[in-house]
């Protein structure tokens, strides 16, 4: 990342539901091709932040730029075009219950490409193989475990080869081994294709293994309390909240 080009730019974002201010004047940038982690305690507004970035919710105040386009005041057609370059894994996976896993993954292909049925099936098999779900194309979401749904959701988010991938807690509900495999997958996609990744996660393993930069949100200040390289934050931060967060990791040398 020699030239740091901001593909996502959040400026003074304020989110409020009723009287409840969730995010207050949050600003940050995500650079092209980096893996950017959003961390923070549960309920501090991480999912809310993602939803605002992809324009599912209109913020109370502030601007959000994607590829330089201000998404807070563009029309639906333009936004739809912009979203075509974005893949999103929702916290609850958001698989369509009435469709099989294979149909879920191939849905964007049927809508936005002219591929033949065979080509689509091939792509679906490839993507399911990537997320270690090969063979599950005819299962329905209700027949999968939570972690498997997450992975199917990742496969669906990736199927259009988006330039930006948003993952809301991708390793929640995964066993450590599969979780590590997801980390490798994320890293390979990022370095191989150059996909920009914005990941919400609490997993220290994931944070240290894959991320270039991290921001930490906090429920009390309703904003960012730390930003930067996670290793540096762990080493040098004086803030007890940040220290607590990173020190959840058991010290292996002592054990």
């Amino acid at each position: 990342m020699s030239t740091q080009e901001a593909v996502i730019k959040v400026e003074g974002l304020t989110v409020q539901y009723g009287d409840n201010i969730v995010l207050d004047n949050v600003s940050f940038e995500v650079y092209r091709g980096e893996i950017f982690v959003i961390a923070g305690g549960s309920g501090c507004g991480k999912s809310t932040l993602l939803k605002h970035i992809i324009g599912l919710d209109i913020p109370k105040a502030g601007n959000i730029f994607i590829n330089g386009i201000n998404t807070t005041n563009i029309d639906d057609d333009e936004m739809a075009k912009l979203r075509r370059g974005i893949g999103m894994l929702f916290q609850g996976s958001a698989l369509f219950g009435s469709m099989t896993i294979g149909e879920n993954v191939s849905l964007p292909l049927t809508e936005f490409t002219e591929l033949t049925r065979e080509a689509m099936q091939l792509i679906v098999k490839m993507k399911l193989g990537m997320v270690e779900l090969s063979g599950y194309e005819n299962h329905f979401p209700s027949e999968l475990s939570g972690g498997m749904k997450k992975r199917a959701g990742i496969a669906r988010a990736m199927v259009m080869e988006p330039a930006m991938l948003f993952l809301d807690e991708p390793s929640a509900g995964l066993d450590p081994i599969t979780s590590a495999e997801m980390d490798i997958l994320i890293k390979k996609i990022n370095s191989g294709i150059g996909t920009t990744m914005v990941i919400v996660t609490h997993e220290l393993e994931t944070i240290f293994n894959v991320s270039n930069r991290i921001i930490m949100l906090d429920k009390d200040t309703k904003g960012i309390i730390a930003e930067g390289d996670p290793r540096a934050l762990k080493e040098h931060s004086r803030d007890p909240k940040i220290r607590n967060f990173f020190n959840r990791q058991p010290d292996r040398k002592k054990n």
Binding site: I123, Y136, I193
Partner: protein, 377 residues
């Protein structure tokens, strides 16, 4: 963006050592074109060795990598030795993501086979019988829980009962009133057209009153309650099933039937008779509008004629009937909810089924009542 039709250039003899130079973007956007080109290539050329050169490729995504894997497979099936040249580090990473076994792995679950007509008929019959069995079983359970609740009235969740009484009764009143009023209006108007010919205008009042109090009041109310509340009960419990909330209740030691069904059942049984009363009242009001405005009856004569026509027996039997309707609507709604397995779609099916089954039961119960009342009278 497969604007130019060539995505690779070919160097070499038709039969000999051939190098394919891929260039530009190799990915999802031209996956189709690439696959077709490759078919064309192999039908035209018969290489002794195939090299794919990626030097000029400036974008390769996982679908592009999938194409390269397919290309290699195609070469292999024709026993052509295959090498890839000038792969960037990035390219290697993406290629390592492709799991070859996954591409040919059989599906773990068969796609549902379409059944033939006879199989469908058999299946449906079994389902209906099973359904009847389950409903009867659930009915027994409810009877047991009612008996339990009567002996332990403190264990009933009265707060829930009140809240459901509001949802079923108060919130349902406007639509019941409106439909009943219209029904009374229409009934009076249609019958007036006939009765006028005999100068029997006054009997419009009797007709509306008797029809509503005996039959139509309970039925129309029951159908509206089935549509509004029976479906809501099914959706509520069905959603709880999908979210494992019912399992959570069981795990915490609750009896889900008692916890979820009894309050709804009691609430419905309390308020549906009241709604039925309102239904008859508003229908009579509707009839009166026609009588006063269209048939030049006075309000007083209309009311008097109505009072004369209605017998206590009709009122009581109508109310009892509506209590029974209410019990069955609530019970079938809850049963459909408990039956939900799977995802959100199953909840939708459950609400539909709750309404359809409730209306079916209403008709059956009403006919039963008609026979019983005929002998009592």
């Amino acid at each position: 963006m497969p604007e130019n039709n060539r995505v690779f250039s070919i160097k070499g003899q038709k039969q000999g050592d051939i190098t394919l130079f891929l260039f530009g973007r190799i990915g999802l956007e031209n996956f189709d074109a690439l696959l077709r080109e490759i078919q064309g290539f192999f039908s035209e050329y018969n290489p002794s060795h195939l090299t794919v050169d990626l030097e000029k490729v400036d974008y390769l995504d996982s679908t592009g990598a999938l194409f390269l894997v397919r290309l290699e497979d195609e070469a292999k099936t024709r026993s052509v030795p295959f090498t890839i040249a000038n792969v960037s580090d990035e390219g290697k990473q993406i290629m390592s993501l492709i799991d070859r076994r996954a591409l040919t792995a059989p599906s773990l679950a068969a796609k549902e086979r379409a059944l033939n007509l006879l199989e469908q008929l058999g299946n449906e019959t079994i389902n209906v019988l099973k359904d009847i069995y389950e409903v009867i079983l659930f009915g027994g359970e409810i009877l047991y829980e009612i008996a339990f609740s009567i002996r332990h009235p403190r264990k009933i969740r009265w707060n829930d009962v009140i809240s459901y009484m509001k949802k079923v009764g108060v919130d349902g009143l406007p639509i019941v009133a409106l439909i009943s009023f219209l029904l009374g209006l229409i009934m009076a108007f249609m019958s007036a057209l006939q009765l006028k010919q005999f100068g029997a205008n006054i009997y419009v009042a009797s007709l509306v009153a008797v029809a509503m109090v005996r039959e139509l009041g309970p039925i129309i109310t029951a159908i509206i309650v089935a549509g509004r509340s029976g479906s809501a009960f099914a959706a509520e419990i069905g959603t709880m099933r999908v979210n494992e909330e019912v399992d959570a209740l069981i795990t915490m030691g609750f009896n889900p039937t008692r916890f979820l069904t009894i309050p709804k059942l009691l609430a419905a049984m309390f308020v549906v008779p009241i709604l039925t009363g309102f239904s008859s009242f508003f229908a009579i009001l509707g009839g009166m509008v026609v009588g006063v405005l269209g048939l030049s009856l006075t309000i007083f004569t209309y009311v008097q004629q109505t009072m004369n026509a209605i017998e206590m027996f009709d009122v009581v039997s109508g109310l009892i009937k509506s209590v029974v309707f209410a019990a069955f609507i609530a019970a079938i709604g809850c049963q459909r909810g408990f039956k939900v397995r799977g995802g959100a779609e199953a909840v939708g099916n459950a609400t539909t089924s709750a309404v359809v089954s409730a209306i079916f039961l209403i008709v059956v119960i009403d006919s039963t009542f008609a026979i019983i009342l005929h002998y009592i009278e």
